[in-house]
């Protein structure tokens, strides 16, 4: 895998290689396998969703890839480099917006640049672009408490995009939102992804969301957590809202549903 060209390549996204990654929690004498030897490859620029019942280890896997959690077995490589700490060029979006309540929306979006260092002026221009893309330009100077849940989450997405990550890890970012807001944000996310290609790994509970967004869907099983099946979604891109009503879309959701039923009955 292209470790050598990782730095020189334009931003087409990072490659993820998960090799027998495992996570065992020990509590006294009992050991719980949150994730049992899991292997998974994600190609540069690909949009992959992780779906599965609670306890299937999808958030655990995401945190391991993000370098936020140390696996108890196996390893994870991003662009050929083994992950031992949060790697550069990787952004994480959480289920909650996780905005800092004392910073304005614009200041929140700029936080990663402030912490990592970099060109402030260029980052400021990019923040303004992202505010416009996420339709938040009128709220640049507002505090998070003045925004709705959907707007807060849009700000969180803008923050995760501020320094052009090669890999975006999203842990159920739209889980707490109503259906309409969620579909809006799905479209905005796809627009951004088409605009500046990057690899996205997306954890979700929603079948239709996973089908609408993904190139591939990884269906995971629980106890012990791991990969059950990987389903290719061949719907044409760019996808528009109308695609949700087509027979192909319905057929794809049925395949994912069937796979999830198998997981449940195991």
């Amino acid at each position: 895998m292209g470790a050598a060209e990782a730095g020189t390549e334009p931003r087409t996204g990072a490659a993820i290689a998960v090799r027998d990654a495992a996570m065992t929690y020990r509590r006294g004498r009992t050991a719980v396998d949150a994730l049992s030897a899991t292997t998974l490859d994600v190609r540069p620029g690909e949009f992959v969703s992780l779906i599965g019942p609670s306890g299937c280890g999808k958030s655990t896997l995401l945190k391991i890839i993000a370098g936020l959690l140390a696996a108890t077995g196996g390893r994870v490589e991003i662009d050929g480099r083994t992950v031992t700490e949060p790697p550069p060029g990787v952004s994480v979006a959480f289920q909650k917006p996780t905005l800092l309540s004392w910073r304005t929306i614009r200041q929140n979006i700029l936080l990663p640049v402030e912490l990592r260092g970099g060109d402030r002026a260029a980052a400021g221009r990019r923040a303004d672009e992202l505010l416009a893309t996420m339709r938040l330009q009128d709220f640049a100077g507002s505090l998070p408490r003045e925004l709705s849940g959907g707007m807060e989450q849009r700000a969180a997405i803008a923050r995760s995009l501020i320094d052009g990550p090669r890999l975006l890890l999203m842990d159920e970012p739209f889980g707490a939102l109503d259906e309409f807001t969620r579909e809006d944000l799905n479209d905005e996310l796809l627009r951004v992804w088409h605009g500046e290609p990057k690899t996205v790994l997306f954890v979700t509970h929603s079948i239709s969301e996973a089908v609408y967004l993904s190139d591939r869907i990884v269906v995971m099983r629980a106890r012990p957590g791991g990969v059950h099946e990987v389903i290719d979604i061949d719907l044409p891109r760019p996808r528009r809202r109308e695609a949700r009503g087509t027979a192909e879309f319905f057929e794809a959701t049925q395949r994912v549903r069937t796979s999830l039923e198998q997981v449940k009955s195991q």
């Binding site: 945190k63 936020l68 949060p86 550069p88 994480v92 004392w102 912490l115």
Partner: protein, 277 residues
């Protein structure tokens, strides 16, 4: 102006969360509160007057309001009051600032080192459960008769609530927020300055209010034991001379100290409004 001491500023800020620009109908809650506040004061004065005039309470214990206000007026016009006010205020402030600085630094050290935290904290709990007021004579003996013993006792009383709240505030950062900082490869100092400290402000502010009142008590107790000026000294002197009216006048002055503390905390809360929880 009457300021209700019970409704502390932090409680007020949390209550008004999510209610930007509350509607205030004419003669609404604030109007009623003003009327009620004046009524309470008038009632207290009347009861006080009657109790003193009819000797419901021994004249050794209570002076009529007229005499008390006359005594207060005397203190103000003669200028005898101000050195005492200044001394107590200065001792309180020095004690509070020292306590806050030490509590803050210690809380930061604790967040950086679990081992230091576990080793030192039990001793602090022991100091906290100490009847600190009882050691005032020893403190005076140890620190002499100037500013030091008063500021020390003020700091000793104010220290613990500040430490506990600073510790909790610095440590209670959400897991997601912490992970967010880690994911952008922030260092521990960045996490301290950009996440922990701003997060802790809403914990430290209410503690500062409590600590300021405790520091005042500490300073006055130290003055009781040994001082040449200060409100505690003045009350002590007035009581020993049987000047009941002067004693009450000084208690009223102390009440204004409380109001001053309350107002400065309200101002501080307003200045730091964006850090509220």
């Amino acid at each position: 102006m009457t300021v209700p001491r019970t409704s502390t500023a932090p409680a007020a800020t949390t209550a008004s969360r999510n209610v930007p620009g509350r509607a205030r109908p004419l003669g609404g809650v604030n109007g009623q509160a003003a009327v009620l506040g004046v009524a309470i004061m008038a009632g207290t004065l009347l009861l006080w007057y009657l109790a003193a005039e009819n000797e419901w309470v021994s004249s050794l214990l209570i002076a009529p309001p007229g005499e008390v206000f006359a005594a207060l007026g005397d203190m103000i016009t003669s200028g005898a009051l101000w050195p005492n006010v200044y001394a107590t205020a200065f001792e309180t402030l020095v004690g509070l600032v020292c306590a806050a600085a030490l509590a803050f630094v210690l809380a930061v050290v604790f967040t950086f080192s679990e081992a230091v935290h576990k080793a030192v904290y039990p001793y602090l709990v022991v100091i906290q459960t100490f009847p600190k007021v009882a050691i005032a004579p020893m403190v005076i003996a140890g620190f002499g008769y100037g500013l030091a013993p008063k500021a020390f006792l003020a700091a000793l009383l104010a220290f613990f609530p500040l430490l506990v709240n600073a510790m909790v505030g610095l440590a209670s950062v959400g897991e997601d927020q912490y992970n967010l900082f880690r994911s952008v490869r922030a260092g521990r100092w960045q996490i301290l300055f950009k996440l922990r400290i701003p997060h802790a402000v809403s914990y430290i502010l209410p503690a500062l209010n409590t600590a300021a009142v405790l520091a005042l008590i500490g300073a006055i107790v130290a003055e009781f034991v040994s001082a040449r000026e200060g409100l505690g000294f003045a009350i002590q002197a007035a009581t020993q001379n049987g000047a009941i009216a002067a004693t009450y006048a000084l208690l009223i002055v102390m009440g204004f100290f409380g109001v001053a503390i309350w107002l400065s905390m309200a101002l501080l809360n307003r200045l730091l409004a964006r850090y509220r929880a």
